[in-house]
């Protein structure tokens, strides 16, 4: 069923809770890294493992929590995450998105997302999709049956193997960014002249913003 407009085909794992916060997605002890990679093994660390996690551990030696859904054999190869309300609330840490991507997730589907997390997703190519609870329930059934889910980003439709499940909304430019991987900064810098002009006026209008301590005596 894969056609040219398919963004992703995969299997989903449900994490059926509201308010999954960024501290759960990647606990704070792993934020000390100065890199963007390597966070996947500690995604949902406190839920995935029986013991307390530390940076630099050999995770293969840790005892896993067999009850946690990501560890259940059935869901091991999932690359679509389904959750409920207010996913990604809490801190602004982009590490939360980096760890979902590093684990292998390509898409997160939820009833709603926290603002900062939602922006962070697009800035890293992780696709967040908002659906209503009824549509999510349908996807949960598919996930449970280990049926494949197809995401057609171009046409903004989610399919099961044999039918259309839901249509989703996405900002057209953000869609373009995910599909084409545009350089956001480069794009903003095409407005350099306008920024300079604005800044010049701002200095005239509110000079104290640009005063440093020394000048101020």
């Amino acid at each position: 069923m894969k056609n040219t407009s398919t963004f992703h085909i995969g299997q989903a794992v449900p994490l059926e809770r509201d308010n999954i916060d960024t501290d759960q997605i990647i606990p704070k002890q792993f934020l000390k890294s100065i890199k963007k990679s390597g966070f996947g093994q500690n995604l949902f660390d406190a839920w995935r493992y029986e013991d307390e996690g530390f940076p630099g551990q050999d995770v293969s030696l840790r005892k896993i929590n067999k009850d946690f859904i990501l560890n259940q054999k059935k869901f091991l190869d999932s690359d679509i995450l389904i959750s409920k309300k207010n996913f990604g609330c809490g801190s602004s840490r982009e590490h939360a998105v980096w760890s979902l991507l590093d684990y292998g997730f390509k898409v997160v589907i939820a009833e709603s997302f926290a603002d900062i997390f939602y922006n962070n997703c697009f800035n890293n190519g992780l696709l967040p999709i908002v659906l209503d609870s009824k549509e999510i329930d349908q996807l949960l059934d598919l996930a449970d049956q280990r049926q494949q889910i197809e995401i057609d980003l171009e046409n903004q439709i989610i399919f099961s193997v044999d039918s259309e499940i839901a249509h989703f909304d996405i900002d057209p430019f953000r869609k373009k960014c995910i599909l084409e991987g545009l350089d956001e900064i480069g794009l903003s810098l095409t407005h350099s002249e306008q920024i300079k002009e604005f800044e010049k006026n701002r200095i005239l209008d509110s000079p104290w913003i640009f005063i440093d301590e020394k000048e101020n005596g």
Binding site: R17, D18, N19, D21, D23, Q24, K28, Q29, L31, K32, S33, I34, K35, A46, E52, P55, G56, N86, C89, G90, S91, S92, R93, E94, V97, S112, A114, D115, I116, N119, N120, N123, N124, D171, P172, F173, R174, K176, D183, E184, I185, L187, S188, H191, S192, Q194, I195, F198, E199, R202, S206, P207, W208, I209, F210, I211, D212, E213, N216, G217
Partner: protein
């Protein structure tokens, strides 16, 4: 045409609309700490870009710094990975000539305490930081928002945030607060009412007589937790209280510029008749001291409340994690640790509020550890000058050096597995204050009174 405060701040900073219908919003001030900036500087370097305007940026390390012995400086950070992060901030600031209050500087502290304290946060500004609690600065009539690391890199490179316009919400807290009820209780009560996603997509302007009569530090506590209501930005109108707070701060304007500035700032309030997409009105006199029982800030009840019934999976999960029984009194929870600090409640007024209750008293022998962590080196200095440190120490608290500390426990200050903590911080998420730790968010007054009692007490009765 009448505008809200948010609309005015937006209009004064909108540079242009990009082809994708998002806007470039000019950023006056960018605050930087060690955790969310290294990857942004790295990205800048890889793309061969430079910071747009150096003097817009101010940095200080806060999340990873130890709060015990500060005399060793960087060598006092025993976790090598954490140390590298602080060193990386030093290196990036040196390379780009960015002003940093480093680990040795007496002005070092939590970035959201340091900004206003130094007068680096000025009314009318747009302020961003790679930290969700940037909403704090809205207390000074600024538009301040937390951003992710990609956005940190974008702001460094372009001096603009690429963003969409938020909707306007006004939360009016009318009447007068009861004696013993604090700004922390106000902000928790708001979250309890609208929920942790209630403000998603909005900027929340706090208003009403309770806010008008509140100090700037109190307003910062309220705006700090706007993000816990889902709102990226919290705001309070400029008034005489704002003016008095800013005057004579190191980076505030002086002389003629000061006069010019206060003349401009006085317009930083929502116009009469301006439109809000959502209005919430709360009777301030009905707010009791608040305590969170669960693992989300919206799981909050009055001090004389009962632990709720497990009416949803989320509540059931939270009750299990917190090891609480429905129907029991919140006052019956035995406490193991007390934490007074964080960008929510570590300013001088917070420390005074707690010290007033602790003076001449001892904390309960059942409390394993009670720590107080001032928000900055200057808050600490002021507290010492007022003798507050002695009051804390005499009562059984440990007096610490400034930083984020046990709010998110990236440094060695942590809860043990299963321990209950009365904490003046902002998030009661699972494991945030330590693996298996159980956090209850409260005001400094409630934390102090509960430390004496060994369990939660109604501070209104305690002080009468």
């Amino acid at each position: 045409m009448s505008y809200t405060l948010y609309d005015k701040l937006w209009n004064q900073h909108e540079v242009t609309q990009r082809a994708d219908n998002t806007y470039l919003l000019y950023i006056d001030r960018h605050l930087i700490h060690e955790v969310t900036s290294p990857q942004a500087f790295e990205g800048l370097k890889l793309a061969g870009r430079k910071p747009w305007r150096i003097s817009a940026n101010i940095a200080t390390p806060d999340h990873n710094v130890p709060t015990t012995d500060r005399s060793k400086g960087l060598e006092g950070i025993y976790d090598e990975v954490a140390k590298l992060q602080v060193v990386t901030l030093d290196d990036n600031c040196k390379e780009h000539d960015i002003l940093q209050f480093d680990i040795h500087d007496r002005r070092q502290g939590i970035v959201h305490v340091v900004g206003p304290e130094q007068g680096l946060t000025l009314p009318g500004m747009t302020i961003v930081c790679g930290d969700s609690h940037t909403s704090t600065h809205g207390a000074l009539a600024t538009l301040s928002m937390g951003i992710g690391t990609s956005e940190v890199e974008h702001v460094l490179a372009t001096q603009c945030l690429k963003t969409s316009k938020l909707k306007n919400m006004r939360v009016t807290i009318s009447g007068e607060l009861q004696h013993g009820v604090t700004p922390k209780d106000v902000t928790l009560a708001v979250i309890g009412q609208i929920g942790t996603a209630g403000g998603t997509g909005y900027a929340i302007e706090y208003s009403g007589s309770v806010i008008e009569n509140m100090t700037i530090e109190g307003r910062m506590t309220v705006c700090n937790m706007a993000i816990e209501a889902g709102a990226r930005a919290g705001l309070v109108a400029y008034d005489k209280t704002t003016e008095d707070y800013i005057k004579n701060r190191p980076f505030a304007p002086s002389g003629n510029k000061w006069l010019e500035a206060i003349d401009q700032w006085k317009d930083l309030a929502s116009d009469e008749g301006s439109y809000f997409d959502k209005e919430i009105i709360i009777d301030g006199s009905s707010i009791a001291p608040q305590v969170t029982w669960g693992t989300s800030p919206e799981m909050v009840i009055d001090i004389d409340g009962l632990i709720p019934e497990p009416t949803s999976d989320s509540i059931k999960h939270a009750l299990d994690y917190m090891n609480l029984e429905s129907g029991k009194r919140i006052k019956d929870i035995r406490l193991d640790q007390i934490f007074i600090g964080s960008c929510t409640n570590s300013r001088i007024e917070d420390l005074r509020e707690a010290a007033k209750i602790l003076e001449g008293k001892k904390i309960s022998s059942t409390i394993k550890r009670a720590i107080v962590v001032p928000g900055s080196g200057l808050v600490s200095k002021q507290a010492i000058e007022e003798g507050l440190d002695e009051i804390f120490i005499q009562s059984g608290f440990e007096w610490r050096a400034p930083g984020c500390s046990m709010c998110l426990a990236m440094n060695p200050d942590q809860l043990g597995d299963g321990e209950h903590c009365a904490s003046t911080s902002n998030r009661n998420f699972e494991g945030r204050q330590g693996y298996g730790g159980r956090t209850h968010l409260v005001s400094p007054a409630t934390a102090a009174a509960s430390a004496i009692e060994g369990s939660f007490v109604d501070v209104r009765e305690f002080i009468s």
